[in-house]
């Protein structure tokens, strides 16, 4: 089976490098990291990922603006986006049923299995 391509867009370098190692160790994913959100759209356009993990608060371009660019692009508009955020709490995410503003959300820190479940669920939703 061909590996799924995941793009992580997050400015926290230590976080993205450890998350990449974790996701790659699962065996099913090819993971690309983009720490500069200004370049997130062009990286995504080049990679055409099966799913994007997108941080909300970043010093350059904010997550929702990146999401907007992706949704407005014909090639990328169907790409599932899962937001990762340190600014909301697990309770808030839970209270919103895991979705905020039409997107699935994962609160940082969440257990790896919670993140993996959300990734898998959103692949399926896309198929």
């Amino acid at each position: 089976m061909e590996k799924k391509r995941i793009l992580i867009v997050d400015d926290e370098k230590s976080f993205t490098s450890i998350l990449r190692i974790n996701l790659e160790s699962v065996g099913n994913y090819d993971v690309t990291v983009e720490n500069d959100s200004n370049k997130a759209f062009s990286t995504a356009l080049h990679l055409k990922p099966d799913l994007i993990l997108l941080d909300v608060m970043m010093p350059q371009k904010e997550g929702p603006d990146v999401a907007m660019e992706i949704r407005n692009n014909k090639v990328l508009q169907e790409t599932p986006i899962v937001f990762l955020t340190a600014t909301v709490t697990t309770e808030e995410v839970k209270s919103q049923g895991g979705w905020i503003g039409g997107h699935p959300f994962i609160a940082k820190p969440s257990r790896l299995d919670v993140l993996l479940n959300s990734i898998e669920a959103n692949f399926k939703a896309d198929e």
């Binding site: 608060m57 340190a86 600014t87 909301v88 709490t89 309770e91 839970k94 940082k108």
Partner: protein
């Protein structure tokens, strides 16, 4: 001019407090000699007598002699003013020093009359002016109290705003590294033999530390930025059961027996179940901490229509929210623990107040719980029980969310 004043004065209700029969009769004569004099006049001959009269009926003004059989001097004025702060008092005494007059005014009287030095006209005028001054004084006091309230609300709001800004900044800066550490530990734990006791303990302790740090940040965020609610019609029983299941491990660890007494007639109400669950977990954890060596927690739910008796029995109930005849749901969490010291019970909802600082408490659990109940239009209160232990109570109104529909439905339950 005189006539005009007397016209106003004819509605006055005057209580004269004097033990001297001659003085009494003179006053009565002066107050009533004009056709348009006061329509109501009553005498009291002692301070106790005066207080009884004031309890029984309303007066516009009290003409008070300071030296009475049961009270002398300025003490008479102090006592009366303390018990009836809203009544207008004009001191009328045989002591002729101006000093007494000034002292009387400072102690709350509106005017000072020297016996034998006034006539019907000046007496009536004095009483009328005194009443007007008292009215203005009370108005001013009310405006001042309102301003003071508003100021403390503003200070509180500003504090909350600062905590909010601080909290979201800290949350972002702390949660990111926590996530990094969490996934680092998750990855490394796969590389080690977790059957080895010491390795297992190391990983579990690190995970617990991350959880604790995250919980503190979460509490802070919840406390400061709690504005969004995801309200749905929910069964409170499910929420209670879920909260209990979340603390089951702690209950067992501390050998605490949990007793549930749930009213089966409680209809679904509109709440954010995750938030109410959070409140219940807070209350249950507090109960568990109060009984470290075991005991009993009772969780009770009930629905009833508020009666006069209930309102009397529960002075804590906020009568701006809950009123006579309203259908309400109450959840009690009772423990048999050590109780809350009297000097601390007023502070328990204050942010950062905790009795468990040494055990990792931040003091936000109850502050968050109060916020959650407030934005649900409900109430939380906590009191020591006479027989020992603490009772925490959550109150929800049944008909505040869906109008009369639920009110009617629930009436049939009670």
């Amino acid at each position: 001019m005189i006539n005009q004043e007397n016209k106003i004065s004819k509605h006055l209700r005057v209580l004269v407090v004097d033990d001297n029969d001659v003085d009494l009769r003179m006053l009565e004569a002066m107050l009533t000699e004009n056709e348009a004099g006061p329509c109501f006049f009553r005498c009291a001959t002692s301070l106790a007598d005066a207080m009884e009269s004031l309890t029984e009926q309303d007066f516009d003004v009290v003409v008070l002699d300071l030296n009475l059989p049961d009270s002398q001097g300025e003490q008479t004025l102090i006592e009366l003013n303390k018990k009836f702060p809203l009544i207008t008092i004009v001191v009328n005494t045989g002591a002729y020093e101006d000093e007494v007059g000034v002292i009387s005014l400072r102690l709350g009287a509106q005017d000072f009359l020297n016996k034998g030095k006034y006539n019907s006209y000046t007496l009536n005028k004095s009483l009328l002016y005194a009443i007007e001054r008292k009215r203005l004084e009370l108005e001013l006091k009310m405006a001042y109290d309102n301003l003071k309230d508003l100021q403390s609300q503003l200070v509180q709001a500003e504090k909350m705003r600062v905590v909010g800004v601080l909290a979201s900044g800290i949350a972002h800066e702390v949660k990111n590294p926590l996530a990094t550490i969490l996934y680092g530990i998750t990855y490394l734990s796969e590389k080690f033999d977790k059957n080895k006791e010491d390795i297992r303990i190391v990983f579990e302790s690190m995970l617990e530390a991350i959880n604790r740090a995250n919980n503190i940040i979460t509490d802070l965020l919840n406390f400061s930025g709690l504005t969004r609610l995801n309200k749905k019609m929910e069964d409170l029983k499910d929420v209670l059961e879920k909260a209990i299941s979340l603390v089951r491990h702690e209950l067992d660890k501390h050998h605490i027996k949990l007793i549930k007494i749930f009213d089966s007639n409680i209809p679904k109400i509109e709440i954010d179940s995750a938030r109410i669950e959070q409140v219940m977990v807070n209350l249950l954890i507090n109960a568990i901490f109060a009984m470290p060596d075991g005991g009993e927690v009772v969780v009770t739910s009930q629905i009833f229509i508020l009666s006069t008796e209930d309102l009397k029995k529960m002075p804590e109930l906020n009568q701006n929210i809950f009123y006579l005849g309203q259908t309400i749901i109450m959840i009690h969490v009772d423990d048999k623990g050590c109780g809350i010291p009297d000097n601390e019970i007023d502070k328990i909802f204050e942010p950062f107040f905790t009795t468990r600082r040494s055990r990792g408490g931040v003091g936000l659990g109850l502050a968050v719980s109060k916020n959650i109940m407030d934005i649900h239009g409900g109430q939380i209160f906590i009191s020591n029980k006479k027989e020992g232990g603490v009772r925490a109570t959550l109150v929800f109104s049944v008909n505040s969310n869906k109008g009369d529909e639920y009110g009617k439905k629930t009436n049939s339950y009670c």
